[in-house]
């Protein structure tokens, strides 16, 4: 008999959330993590729990996942720093205000609370924004958190129910339920969940690309920013697939520090700071919030998002009945981890899913990819 019912490859927030769901369903779970739990993209990102409406499927998944975060909120330890700060989507001009109203109507249709702010209300809510902005949309139930601590919490809950962390081993080969680690150790399980983020070496057919981002953390300035602030133009810049882009995106932390982002780049594989785009990112931040120029930044770093062509994560079974995937979350891995884990467990156990899981099925992608090759 296999030692595990399921082996989860990757101990990021998504892998840990999957391990938690699967152990809660009574399965014997092992988690293979080559480095530190929550030490990859999980640690590099901001930790923004946010409803996003860039596509109906993403809207459904983020609403579902945010609801699961809200259900979890009372159980989360203080180290997770979960705070329902709310997001304000900042509209620079009248054209963006039209988007604000459209977004508000869409959110209302899905019972997601939001409120339109005019220019004065925006200035009152966030006095450090520059004057003259048109307004914004506040989404009060969006939250911020510290993702590595959230991953650790999910893992701890899984371990409490018997999950085993296999740390230090890197899975290099996957054949059905057989996993070979770099040192030659082999593990066998009935099912394997590939949750290795932007590293798709185990399943090279996954259409995942690394998309580099930069962040800066400031010293402590309590009260400088109250909500997570994101320019509405973010949606435009984040969706440009080909070009490098920057957007104003600032997050308050419970210490009074701020995370300042964001940048998106394809094709830059190195972890070093790209001074040009980093500078452009900070200039963008200062355009919206001039006072940022006088703050002291204490550390900058980069990370890699796992981007897919349709901007949707890959969640569920593959053509190999033993292999499941939970990867490709781009910038929404923190938000979507609880929802993705629940969908994955539902599919593995044959339970009904609360939302339509079909847009995220990896098989569709595989079939789509093979069709593309046939027609090429």
């Amino acid at each position: 008999m296999a030692r595990f019912d399921v082996l989860v490859l990757g101990g990021g927030i998504v892998g840990c959330a999957c391990a938690r769901e699967l152990t809660q369903a009574g399965m014997r779970v092992g988690i293979v993590e080559r480095g530190v739990v929550g030490g990859g993209a999980t640690a590099a990102g901001m930790g923004h729990v946010v409803v996003m409406d860039d596509s109906p499927a993403q809207f459904a998944l983020t609403c579902y996942s945010r609801g699961l975060w809200q259900d979890l909120q009372s159980q989360l330890p203080a180290s997770v720093e979960y705070e329902a700060r709310g997001t304000i989507w900042v509209a620079a001009d009248a054209e963006e205000m039209l988007e604000v109203h459209a977004k508000q109507r869409l959110y209302a249709s899905a019972h997601v609370r939001s409120e339109v702010l005019d220019g004065l209300a925006l200035a009152a809510a966030e006095p450090n924004l520059r004057s003259g902005l048109a307004g914004g949309l506040v989404v009060p139930d969006d939250a911020v958190c510290y993702p590595p601590a959230a991953a650790a919490f999910f893992l701890e809950q899984a371990a409490h129910d018997g999950a085993v962390l296999l740390q230090g081993g890197e899975a290099v080969k996957l054949e059905g339920g057989k996993v070979t680690l770099k040192d030659g150790t082999r593990h066998v399980a009935d099912r394997v969940v590939v949750a290795t983020g932007a590293d798709s070496a185990l399943l090279p057919w996954l259409p995942i690309q690394r998309r580099k981002g930069h962040l800066l953390i400031t010293d402590r300035y309590p009260g400088f920013v109250h909500h997570q602030l994101v320019e509405l133009g973010y949606l435009k810049s984040a969706h440009k697939l080909a070009e490098d882009s920057v957007a104003f995106n600032v997050q308050p932390r419970s210490t009074g520090q701020m995370l300042i982002g964001s940048s998106r780049q394809y094709g830059d594989a190195g972890p070093e700071i790209d001074q040009k785009i980093f500078g452009a990112m900070l200039e963008r931040a200062c355009e919206y919030m001039p006072g940022i120029a006088r703050l002291s930044g204490i550390r900058a770093w980069t990370g890699f998002r796992a981007a897919t062509p349709d901007k949707l994560p890959l969640i569920g079974p593959t053509e190999d009945p033993a292999v499941f995937v939970a990867a490709g979350f781009e910038g929404l891995g923190i938000t979507n981890a609880p929802g993705a884990a629940r969908l994955l467990a539902d599919q593995m156990l044959g339970r009904p899913t609360a939302i339509d899981a079909s847009p995220f099925l990896p098989e569709c992608v595989a079939n789509f990819a093979s069709r593309e090759i046939v027609h090429a």
């Binding site: 010293d219 402590r220 300035y221 309590p222 210490t255 006088r294 002291s296």
Partner: protein
Amino acid sequence: MREVHRISVTVNGCRVQVPEGSTVSAAMLNAGSAQRISVRGEARGALCGMGICFECRAVVDGVMHRRTCQMVCSEGMTVETQP
């Protein structure tokens, strides 16, 4: 002996006289004031005294996170413990 010229600065609302050339951290320590309060609520003050450890940060003339061990007091300066 050369006469020491004294200047006045305000530390947490109290006007104090310090010898010209004093660092801001010295002025605050002489006044019995912490330079800053840590995330966990502990009083902190200059440790390395050479601008490396950042323990001496305080609010100087309204600007947060000034390294007070690297700043010389000037007449009329206002310094506060950083929350």
